[in-house]
């Protein structure tokens, strides 16, 4: 399985390298650096509840987009003391009337972890925009992989709204994560089994800066649950407020 993860990573890096090469025809390039009080994904802290920094870049060309994001994980308990994660994604938006369909492949490559933590997943979803409101639904499926102790499915509904004439966006998301459990590594993405997470927040944009505040939470009973998995990191799987500042290029 490690071989598969490596080849997935290599394939994605290759695809992104090829995609980045014809910069001249690139339709759009956007990039940024970000600092956050906690690197939270799907309601779970990936940085032990500590401050994290990240840098990302995305190139869009002919409907396809390739992106790379590097985020500090601060010797994350959830990911076997990994220092950082690189998220490599290749996606495509398909216009279908009023809807935009989305397909993507993402590889997560962890650096300096005690053991191989890399895994990959596939995403399928749709977005719909009506005036200043954008709603979307997306499913990500990580097929059975040893590094995440089974398979994993995450379903997410999102709503983003801009306030016309005012540089503030508000957003909300609701997610559900399920999957099967083969060993303790499944607790990386599902600390105590299937769970629901949510997020509400606001962002203030004044180019090139974005300031954001989010309230994130999960329905995991972090006080009364005990996990035998060293990857569950239940202390950092509950409700919290986090702030972020981003500089876009």
């Amino acid at each position: 399985m490690t071989g598969i993860d490596r080849s997935l990573g290599a394939a994605l890096i290759g695809a992104i390298a090829v995609s980045l090469a014809p910069q001249v025809q690139a339709q759009s390039v956007d990039a940024g650096v970000e600092a956050t009080t906690d690197e939270v994904r799907r309601g779970l802290s990936w940085s032990d509840g500590e401050v994290s920094g990240s840098a990302d870049a995305r190139v869009g060309f002919g409907g396809l987009d390739a992106s790379l994001r590097l985020a500090m994980l601060r010797k994350s308990d959830r990911h076997a003391n990994a220092d950082a994660v690189a998220d490599l994604a290749l996606g495509k938006d398909w216009e279908a009337g009023a809807f935009t369909l989305r397909t993507e492949a993402i590889g997560h490559v962890f650096t300096n972890a005690d053991s191989n933590m890399n895994y990959g997943e596939l995403g399928l979803g749709a977005r719909y925009s009506i005036g200043p409101l954008q709603v979307g639904g997306m499913a990500w499926y990580a097929p059975k992989q040893d590094n995440i102790g089974g398979d994993n499915l995450h379903l997410r509904a999102t709503a983003d709204a801009g306030l016309p004439g005012f540089p503030v966006s508000v957003f909300a998301a609701l997610g559900y994560t399920t999957g099967d459990t083969q060993d303790s590594r499944s607790a990386r993405l599902r600390p105590a089994g299937d769970y629901t997470d949510w997020k509400v927040g606001a962002e203030f944009n004044q180019f090139p800066f974005t300031l954001g505040i989010e309230y994130v939470g999960t329905d995991i009973d972090t006080d009364n649950t005990v996990s035998v998995s060293p990857f569950a990191d239940l202390k950092h799987a509950g409700d919290r407020v986090l702030a972020l500042v981003r500089m876009s290029f």
Partner: protein, 149 residues
């Protein structure tokens, strides 16, 4: 502000950039006499509010997709009698995206346009160079008419 709000509800919106017109004067030698051509360039910003999928590991978000087009107006004086006007437009001279809700100031488009003024200037000069042949054809036909007349 109300206009902005209403425009924003449409799929795309168009606003004029702060008009710092670019100018260029050229003189072309021709049998009919020297042709004095004055060019004035103006930029126009087109913004479209879009939703984008997040970079791997980041949530999806609202973005503003924008592009700057350049319109150049030419006024030429050919000989003593003929005035030749022409309008040229080049779309997407500069384009990009910015996070959040479209706002020309808040999205940083005005700053980027200002910073890339040289690029706009060279795009305008390329249009001026292309226009030279058109002016010559116009002057030739004017010259021919004069001779016939």
């Amino acid at each position: 502000m109300k206009t902005f709000a209403f425009a924003g509800i449409a799929a795309g919106l168009v606003l004029s950039a702060p008009a710092q017109a670019m100018e260029h004067k050229a003189v072309i030698e021709h049998p009919v006499g020297p042709i004095a051509a004055d060019y004035t360039g103006a930029t126009r910003v087109e913004m479209q509010q879009i939703g984008t999928a997040g970079v791997g590991g980041r949530p999806s978000s609202l973005r503003c997709q924008w592009s700057v087009s350049l319109s150049v107006e030419r006024h030429a004086q050919v000989g003593a009698s003929l005035q030749a006007k022409r309008s040229m437009t080049r779309d997407d001279v500069i384009k990009g995206t910015s996070p959040g809700w479209c706002s020309e100031r808040g999205s940083g488009i005005d700053q980027i346009v200002e910073a890339r003024r040289d690029e706009l200037r060279s795009a305008m000069m390329a249009m001026v160079a292309q226009d030279r042949d058109v002016i010559l054809v116009e002057a030739d036909s004017a010259h021919a008419k004069q001779r016939v007349g």
